[in-house]
């Protein structure tokens, strides 16, 4: 994946190549603020090359017309190859995204391998053709419904979980027989680039997966508008998602969008605080809050705000902030200097709007890592749901605690948001919790837990949190077209009475 000059290449038609004109960009390690790698910088022309390769591979049928079983076996081989390359992938992921090595080795790699295996299994199950009932009118016929791949899919992945979220698109798209052009985020292209080699080693034909790192404004736009791209799947901000939908509308592309969130986390008055307190910290602090389904609005019974916040602050203070490579660290950096500054500006906005800052709120510079991008875990109390820190997605370790008087009021405030990605409720009483869960307008709701995602359960957003669903049977179906084939089972002209009745044909 390294070119002769040491830079990471684009991956087109089975080969690592430089960008047109030799342009490159630098990847910075957020733990240290130092340059970690140099990567070929894709352009519109590179996108066109990649799309043509994907188109040619799709049309050849060498992948798209293979049986589900044959494709499933390649996916299973990819899962095994990811296991073989686990350490290499983990270091690249940590170096570019700031994910803690502890989490990546523990969870991310296993979940990616599991996903490829799951998609292999699902393609065997859902690729079956369905034969409909033998309905004999207007004449004897056999009707079947078949699933076929859509074609060339553009997958645009975000910086927060580069490997996992690229795989959420790649695995189902490949499993269902599509070809792919993958654009990783500019901050975090390294593991995506490595996937090219891994898939090739596992037996994926050349041209089926192509990888073009580069800026969203050029590479992303070019993919969303390219006439030979049949589908765009994007994970990222709502602002960019809206733009992709607009550009994709030019050629009526199929679109799947997984966008922002400001997910409400409701603690009921009978919750077991021994799990609700650490659970609510987990909900907003995993990967420093740079997770789309983070529980960033915490609704608490007014009379319990003091106790809950006190316990959260005490536990949050125990967390160790430092280099993502350091196995003893709990919290690593945020992705970039710019993101760090955005987060700190939201802290200022929260103070100005009258919320009470009870923890953190500042940049943190651990010894020896002064140039890294670290932000302290931050908690505001007495937040009003109308404030900017309660309405806008911050994508950082910032929690808005909002007191409530009645459960109805909590639910109303929870739903008073342009987002609807996730939500949660904590209670000892499953009946009460289910009642609240049924009222939260969001695509995933946890009861007494958070961040529990399953590769067989659909994930996606209500309202402006997205369009469509990823994962599970539903996510796989989003990479297919449905075709009805109706086959007449008579060759007798006399059996076509309806031609005569409807159009008066006599021949």
């Amino acid at each position: 994946m390294h070119l002769a000059n040491g830079e990471y290449g684009l991956f087109i038609d089975g080969k690592y190549v430089p960008a047109e004109g030799g342009a490159t960009f630098k990847v910075v390690d957020p733990s240290t603020g130092q340059v970690a790698a140099e990567v070929a910088k894709g352009s519109e022309k590179d996108v066109d090359r990649a799309v043509q390769a994907a188109r040619k591979a799709f049309d050849s049928g060498d992948w798209s017309r293979r049986s589900p079983e044959e494709r499933a076996q390649v996916l299973e081989a990819i899962a095994l190859k990811i296991g073989e390359h686990a350490e290499e992938l983990a270091f690249l992921e940590v170096q570019s995204s700031g994910a803690t090595l502890r989490r990546v080795m523990n969870a991310d790699l296993l979940s990616v391998m599991e996903l490829f295996v799951r998609c292999a299994r699902l393609t065997r199950e859902i690729s079956k053709k369905e034969v409909l009932d033998a309905f004999p009118l207007p004449g004897p016929n056999q009707t079947m419904v078949v699933r076929e791949p859509i074609g060339v899919c553009a997958a645009i992945a975000p910086f927060n979980f580069p490997l996992i979220l690229a795989s959420w698109k790649l695995a189902p798209a490949l499993a269902m027989g599509n070809t792919v052009v993958l654009k990783p985020a500019t901050y975090t292209p390294l593991t995506a680039i490595a996937l090219g080699k891994i898939c090739q080693e596992a037996g994926l034909p050349d041209g089926v997966l192509n990888i073009v790192p580069g800026p969203g404004g050029s590479v992303g736009e070019a993919l969303a508008g390219h006439p030979d791209v049949d589908k765009v799947a994007f994970t990222g901000s709502t602002v960019v998602g809206r733009r992709i939908m607009q550009v994709a509308s030019g050629t009526i592309k199929k679109v799947t969008l997984e966008l922002g969130g400001k997910s409400p986390n409701i603690i009921l008055d009978d919750a077991d605080l021994d799990i609700a307190v650490p659970g609510s910290l987990f909900a907003f602090l995993l990967h420093c809050g740079q997770v789309c389904e983070s529980g960033t609005r915490l609704f608490v019974p007014r009379k319990m705000q003091g106790e809950i916040v006190e316990r959260m602050v005490a536990q949050a203070k125990q967390l160790k902030i430092g280099s993502a490579m350091d196995l003893s660290c709990d919290l690593g950096p945020v992705i970039s200097k710019q993101q760090m500054e955005t987060i700190l500006s939201y802290v200022e906005a929260g103070k100005q709007e009258g919320a009470k800052l009870v923890l953190g709120g500042k940049r943190c510079q651990p010894a020896g890592l002064e140039d890294g991008f670290y932000v302290e875990p931050t908690i505001f109390t007495d937040v009003n749901n109308k404030m900017r820190i309660a309405q806008e997605e911050i994508f950082g370790p910032v929690l808005s605690v909002i007191p409530y008087d009645t459960v109805e009021e909590a639910v109303a405030m929870a739903n008073d948001s342009m987002y609807g990605l996730a939500g949660g409720v904590w209670s000892r009483d499953h009946a009460k919790a289910l009642q609240v869960a049924g009222q939260i307008r969001a695509g995933t709701v946890w009861i007494n837990d958070w961040h529990m995602l399953r590769s067989d359960a659909p994930f996606g957003g209500y309202k402006q949190s997205g369009l469509g669903r990823e994962l599970g049977r539903w996510g796989m179906e989003a990479y297919t077209e449905l075709k009805t084939i109706n086959m007449s089972m008579t060759l007798e002209r006399s059996q076509r009475g309806w031609y005569d009745r409807m159009l008066g044909l006599k021949g």
Partner: protein, 400 residues
């Protein structure tokens, strides 16, 4: 025992956790049920437990899973044959395709019988149990294909997992026995939150029912590695948890432990084949004639039988003492250990507030002495291990 064929086939899937009853609709759907009938008793309905379980069908939204098409909450104490027949009729009238048994032994066993009658296409349970006894085995005993979930509301009978039922024939005044490898629920739910409102007397009596199952299993000639493992652990768990639960009824961990203990205690009992069940022999007789609660009767006769039939218990006395954490008994001989075990059982019974004597059950002693010897001899469970007449008299004297 090692040269006897051992058959161990526990087919019921067990799901246990505080709040586990919330999983009921999904479990029924998984079993292929679309229209379920819930069987319960009046006590549960008055305590709000029936409504609490029924609500899961409407959460978070109505009509998206299996439907609850009827509630039959008239099951009396003991699985009375006439009410079983009425339950069969009710089920058919609702056009149902699945059974939920919510309750203790009476409801659990009634619903097993209802399923058995439905499977045979019959109307009347007694007509299927000539002589108040029916024992079906493979290959003629086959799965019944009627989705069936048991939810325990007492920690005692373990009937939610046992492949057998006790049927009360009120005309003959006999408790009949039905055994069939597929008569138990497909899934049993053990949710300790449903047992919190059980009155202390019943909590204690049902725990002694479980204790009796465990000890009778352990002492049976057919005891084996499965029944020993279950039986001794059940004894130990009940000794550790019963008094703390009686002291603090909402102690969920203790309730959960008692539920688990009662579940494995019945397995110790039913899979120790051939079994010797003399305590149950007495409890069924007095239950059928004087309607004494089954667990209460077991609690009373457990020590009376152990005193009158020591040879049955002596080989296991030291192991029992160990399970009860009676450390002093460790260095003693079997006779001394058995005496300590019996003393500890009496002690636990007294501290639990259960009767020590006949007189406290409201049963007239002279009429009991007159009726019971014959009733004990006629009880079907005694067929497997009959008790000599003079021993019967001695047990009754011990309990008087």
């Amino acid at each position: 025992m090692s040269k006897t064929l051992l058959t161990y086939h526990m087919r019921t899937q067990v799901l246990q956790a505080p709040g586990a009853s919330a999983m009921l609709p999904e479990i029924l759907a998984q079993l292929g049920c679309r229209r379920a009938v819930l069987f319960a008793d009046q006590g549960l309905t008055k305590a709000g437990i029936t409504a609490r379980v029924a609500q899961w069908f409407d959460l978070p939204h109505k009509g998206q899973g299996p439907q609850l098409v009827g509630i039959f909450d008239k099951i009396p104490q003991d699985a009375e044959s006439s009410m079983i027949d009425e339950g069969v009729r009710f089920y058919r009238e609702q056009g149902a395709d699945g059974l939920i048994a919510l309750g203790g032994g009476s409801v659990q066993d009634s619903v097993k019988c209802i399923k058995f009658v439905l499977d045979k296409g019959g109307k009347n349970i007694l007509s299927l149990m000539p002589g108040n006894f029916c024992f079906e085995t493979p290959p003629s005993a086959k799965p019944m294909n009627i989705p069936h979930v048991g939810i325990a509301t007492t920690a005692g009978t373990g009937a939610e997992v046992s492949p057998a039922a006790v049927v009360f024939n009120s005309k003959d005044k006999i408790k009949g026995d039905l055994a069939h490898p597929f008569v138990g629920p497909d899934v049993a739910i053990l949710d300790p939150e449903l047992t919190v409102s059980l009155p202390p007397k019943l909590t204690a009596a049902t725990a002694f029912d479980a204790l009796t199952h465990a000890i009778e299993g352990i002492a049976s000639p057919g005891a084996n590695v499965f029944t020993d493992a279950y039986g001794f652990e059940a004894v130990s768990a009940i000794f550790r948890n019963l008094l703390p639960v009686l002291e603090k009824p909402a102690y969920i961990e203790g309730r959960n432990a008692l539920l688990g203990a009662s579940c494995v205690a019945i397995l110790s009992f039913v899979y120790a084949v051939p079994g010797a069940y003399p305590v149950h022999n007495f409890a069924h007789a007095i239950g059928a004639h004087f309607r004494v609660h089954h667990g209460t009767a077991n609690a009373l006769f457990l020590t009376a039988v152990m005193e009158a039939m020591p040879d049955l218990y002596l080989p296991r006395a030291k192991d029992l003492a160990r399970a009860m954490d009676l450390r002093a008994a460790a260095g003693q001989n079997a006779e001394q250990a058995l005496a300590e075990v019996i003393a500890a059982l009496k002690d636990l019974r007294r501290q639990s507030g259960l009767p020590d004597r006949f007189s406290e059950l409201g049963v007239n002693a002279s009429s009991a002495m007159e009726v019971l010897p014959m009733a004990v001899m006629r009880d079907p469970i005694g067929l497997i291990y009959p008790i000599p007449l003079e021993i019967i008299g001695q047990v009754l004297q011990n309990a008087l």
